[in-house]
Amino acid sequence: MAKKVARAPLDYLNMPAMKAWLAGVFIFLYTPLMILILFSFNDSKANIVWKGFTFKWYVKAFENTQLREALFNSLLIAGVCTVISVVLGALMAFAFWRFKFPFKGPLESGMSLPIVVPEICFGVAVLMFFAKVGFPNDLPYPFNLTQIILAHVTFAFPFVAIVVRARLEGFNPELEAAALDLGASPFQAFRDVIIPHMKPGLIAGGLLAFTLSLDDFVITFFASGPGTITFPVKVYSMVRFSVTPEVNAASTIIILITVVATVLALRAQAATTKES
């Protein structure tokens, strides 16, 4: 493995064996996705042989009312989930950062449980909960998405809290003390001093909540009442049925949304580390 060439001893990245290994890993990770995107533009239903460039599968995907509805529902759920998760996550991060109180440790570990609990366990719990409390199953659109939103917020907001908490660790508490000394109420200090400082964390956390919600299949699968359809659930049923370029087109759109959200989140996070 270690052939003597002119390079620093720890420059593993420039070792030929290492380069080959990295290339292999990234080919493994990206080939399926690249092929999926490529064939969303393929002018053939067969999905194997390249027959020329076309947008027709995108047109078809948009003409598919159910698919369009599912996509819209997923974005709506992700949007609402993001707003609620950011509020809850920010409050949680702030309370744990600011105050000492009894049972703080156990409560903090408890509230991060939604992050580690297997999806399937939380999924069935949500199914049982909504069935047993008699949550109305026949609410008019868009309120029939409520169950999914409630479930998504529950596993998304602890993630937001972690991101925001990391941001708060870099905050100088004297700034808040100064605001209080100058006559601000704790609430005013929170609104005018702490929230502006939290902002990059709120953005990063919000985008994280958005992608988590958009990505989720298992919990949605269990939380959704009959007749509500989200993008992953719709794709799931289409995939079970057959592999069509329409699914490729719809997937490509979701990938694009995710990539944009991720890049924005990373930018916000980079701003966080630079400032603190």
Binding site: F26, L33, I48, A95, P118, I120, C121, M128, R240, I254
Partner: protein, 297 residues
């Protein structure tokens, strides 16, 4: 940090909402599952909480034990492959310059952020009988046959709907779970120790084995746990890529709640998975605390 009694109103105003939400939508549903796991079916929809352990006992029947054993083996194989694949990647990232680090991290994370279902679907398209790999092989086969070699008829490789496909899918999905903790651990290492080892005549492999691996052990343990737990509880991957004989725990749980309609048994299975998860995380937390003490000179 302020004691909560100094400003009770403000404290309550900030902590109340998250805690109430967590209690109603997490603790209560989980408690319900737990209660059901010690309950019995007394009617088509009626369940009595009787404090029985029969549901847990049922989990020790041979058929269920087989599924659980398979799940553990599949998750373990996945975890080990992830470790082998991810270790060099994490090592390369550790010694890359800042810009390369950012790019490598982004490249590892990007698929991770992509919808799980889409990734699984992409794998199906590559691996199915008329998928990219098999079509490629068929083309190669045809080409070789043209050159006059005796090839026989082309048999597509059975890549999908078996345990092989499940492991490939699980590795594909869980690789970032392994890379990140490994990278975090390796990045913290004192690099002069590695240099010293190389200066003193040890080869790279020996340095990895005798210096890097022992020092990064807590990170490796973290990576193993973080990869193993979601792999064990995976639902979508075995469901879509596996055959009918490749059930994993999650599918078994799902069946009790949908087709089989045996909620108490499903609840018990779900809690067995929960207990396994919590035990692993407790072990990890314990090791981390121990590792932290050793690290703090």
């Amino acid at each position: 940090m302020q004691d909560w009694r100094e400003d009770k109103t403000f404290f309550r105003a900030t902590i109340a909402l998250p805690v109430i939400w967590f209690m109603i939508f997490f603790v209560v549903p989980m408690a319900m599952v737990w209660a059901y796991s010690v309950g019995e079916n007394v009617g088509p929809v009626e369940v009595a909480i009787t404090g029985t352990f029969s549901n847990y006992a049922k989990a020790f029947s041979p058929e269920v034990l087989k599924v659980m054993g398979d799940s553990v083996v599949l998750a373990m194989v996945t975890t080990l492959i992830c470790l082998v694949v991810a270790f060099p990647v994490a090592l390369a990232m550790t010694f890359a310059d800042e810009k390369q680090k950012t790019w490598l991290l982004l490249l590892i994370m990007l698929p991770f952020w992509t919808n799980l279902l889409i990734r699984t679907y992409a794998l199906i398209a590559v691996m199915r009988t008329s998928g990219v790999i098999n079509s490629g092989l068929e083309g190669l086969h045809g080409l070789l046959a043209l050159t006059g070699m005796q090839m026989g008829t082309f048999e597509p490789l059975p890549l999908l709907y078996n345990k092989f496909a499940v492991v490939v899918g699980l590795v594909y999905v869980h690789l970032p779970f392994m890379v990140l903790p490994l990278y975090a651990a390796l990045d913290r290492l004192d690099k002069s120790l590695i240099e010293a080892s190389l200066d003193l005549g040890a080869g790279h492999l020996e340095t990895i084995r005798r210096i890097i691996v022992p020092l990064a052990a807590p990170g490796i343990a973290a990576g193993l746990v973080i990869t193993f737990i979601p792999a064990l509880g995976a639902y979508l991957t075995p469901d879509l890529l596996g055959g009918p004989d490749d059930l994993m725990i999650a599918s078994l749980i799902e069946r009790q709640f949908k087709r089989a309609n045996d909620w108490p048994f499903g609840a018990a299975l779900s809690f067995i998975l929960m207990y396994i998860t919590l035990i692993f995380f407790a072990i990890r937390a314990f090791m981390e605390r121990k590792g932290g003490k050793v690290g703090a000179h």
